[in-house]
Symmetry: C2
Subunit: 378 residues, 2 copies
């Protein structure tokens, strides 16, 4: 198995470090259960305790299942490196440090970020069950992987939710050229049931928005550059200070765009300050601008119990009306109506469970190296 940091051989350390994903776009399909089981063994090998490894494996496999391939198994080599370097403590569990009524402060003790975030959202939902609303602010945690995970978690349990994280500085504020903002992903989740033919509730079909405050991540910019494609919309500034769709030029200037120019710049800033303040934790400017040491983030998890105010069927009818209105807008391409946030994920999920989870070959090979490196040592 993969070994805890202190027992990883120098050879294996190099293997983990080299296991960055370089995609050429070719894909394979892996059964969901196989994917989950193999991730679980890797996490156990990294020193994550059994129940927590099972949860972490499920969340990671679900990320690939829903088509968010940048934040599923493709991130495991980086997680393994954080553990190996002692940046993330695989055994640390989140802990409540203060609270008043429906709001609590927790600390993550720099344990696995997705496990801490999941626990924080569970606790926010418990508080919302009791008070109608609940909030957990989490300090000193680590990268939470896929932001949307905690939105789906809440919405599947019939809670609306907002959550966000700060990040290391990776975005220039409006009016400046050096990175002083994080891209601070924000999630808004809304529970919804399909309206059954017979009336009454059909299956769960949440609306989940998962968006970072940069128009494109540096990972996305790199991927456009490697494919030699122009960005679909301007993503930042070139050396002449002109808006450009040339990903390589933006990589050179490091002047990526916040969404909506001055607006996303402002939104990123307030999310950062509010998270740090509520959590009593670090703000973006306190975080090291080094992805190899990306730890200590502040996060907010807010759950709302709409079923305290109306039945799920009534609430779902309101959501359905809005979805119908969106779908009725004149599409730019015939037959391709505008989609609501989460609509694509539900389609990909169904396909993944039917045909197997689509995984990029490069990510899969890196994952297999993580496994085999471990096997060679056990």
């Amino acid at each position: 198995m993969v070994r805890a940091p202190e027992s990883v051989s120098p050879m294996c350390r190099r293997t983990i470090k080299a296991a960055r994903v370089r995609s050429n776009g070719s894909m394979r399909r892996v059964a969901f259960a196989e994917l989950q089981g193999r991730i679980e063994r890797v996490l156990l090998g990294l020193g994550v305790a059994p129940e927590r490894a099972a949860l972490g494996a499920r969340l990671t496999a679900e990320t690939d299942r829903d088509g968010v391939r940048t934040h599923g198994i493709a991130r495991l080599p980086r997680f393994a490196q954080w553990v190996r370097d002692g940046v993330v403590d695989p055994r640390a569990e989140p802990e409540r440090v203060a609270g008043f009524g429906a709001i609590e402060r927790w600390t993550g003790h720099r344990g696995p970020g997705n496990l801490a975030a999941y626990a924080a959202m569970q606790r926010a939902m418990e508080l919302a069950g009791e008070h109608g609303l609940g909030c957990v602010a989490l300090a000193d945690t680590a990268h939470w992987m896929r932001a949307g995970t905690y939105g789906w978690q809440a919405a599947e349990a019939r809670f609306a939710a907002m959550c966000w994280t700060n990040t290391l500085p990776n975005l220039p504020p409006w009016g400046a050229s050096s990175a002083a903002l994080g891209n601070n992903p924000l999630v808004v989740a809304i529970p919804r049931r399909a309206i059954a033919q017979s009336g009454g509730e059909g299956e769960s079909a949440p609306i989940v928005l998962d968006m970072a405050m940069s128009q494109f991540s540096y990972g996305t910019l790199a991927s456009y550059r490697e494919r030699g494609e122009a960005l679909p919309v301007p993503g930042g500034y070139d050396e002449q200070g002109v808006l450009t769709t040339d990903a390589a030029a933006i990589e050179r200037t490091q002047r990526a765009l916040p969404i909506g120019f001055w607006k996303g710049s402002g939104l990123s800033f307030v999310l950062d300050v509010l998270a740090a303040m509520l959590a009593g934790g670090l703000a973006t400017h306190d975080l090291l601008p080094d992805p190899a040491k990306e730890v200590g983030q502040s996060q907010v998890f807010l759950a709302i119990a709409p079923t305290a105010l109306g039945t799920m069927e009534e609430l779902s009818r309101i959501a359905q009306g809005a979805i119908d209105g969106l779908h009725a807008a004149t599409p730019l391409q015939a037959g391709k109506p505008a989609r609501y946030p989460g609509e694509g994920a539900l389609r990909t999920r169904e396909e993944s469970l039917r045909l197997g989870v689509a995984v990029e070959d490069a990510a899969w090979e890196a994952f297999v190296r993580l496994e085999s490196c471990a096997d060679g040592e056990s």
Copy 2:
């Protein structure tokens, strides 16, 4: 005085209807107390009850005081028209209809939107004082004028807050060409005190973000067109479907941009659905696409009591660190550091109180016509 709708003469009706503001950019200064007093008399004349007229006048005068000239007295002719047409009931007061713990549903009964929103945020703060968090979802209200008003209201009282409203359809969703989204202004407010030289708390200096989901409002597009200026960044699509900084072209296609393209489109949608669902009210697609009948909106007011978790001085030090980090980013123009949301408003406020509130001549003349029309009838 200005008369309640049933008593306004046909001549006066035309006067109110014609009182749209066409600015040529020239300005005057009016003392804050004079501005507030004269607005109060206009509101009384429109049938708003005395205490409520005083509050409405303060909120409107403060909007101009802070430099948000599009949503202060420049909006009063439109408000008068809504009252005259029976769209807004000047006597209607908001009312609680349901609640559970820290969350409540209210209805606005289509009364003056700023008064209902102010009452909703006050109640959200009361709930947050009791539970750490509080939320009021308000259905069937009317235009709330300046969104930021309710953020400043909360932050000055030491609460953090988020609030948002839906609007009539005025923005195409990403992938479509017809308006199916609202521009749904969102406010995030953070209380903060300056750090006094002596240590301890200085004066209140909140961080308040107030942003709509469209990159530019149609009002702003019109103003660029009238001045013959290009937009500072692309604001929508021209007839060839190409991103443009030509405001007139965007007015022709009606394809204004959501902030961040697909991202703002998604954020606008989830804010709409969540507001309608929590309020048990109307969503954007239910609202008439007619600014003359802009009523029935759903809104959410969320207050958070950070002082339940830490002292205001500790919280303010976290905010100050983030502000210092922002100000330290390399400015694009020497000597003009990036600003935090609300920083400009505080400077304008100080100047307004010292020199008088800057008011556009055209808006002032329209306001005086509102007054004199009333005087002619009283």
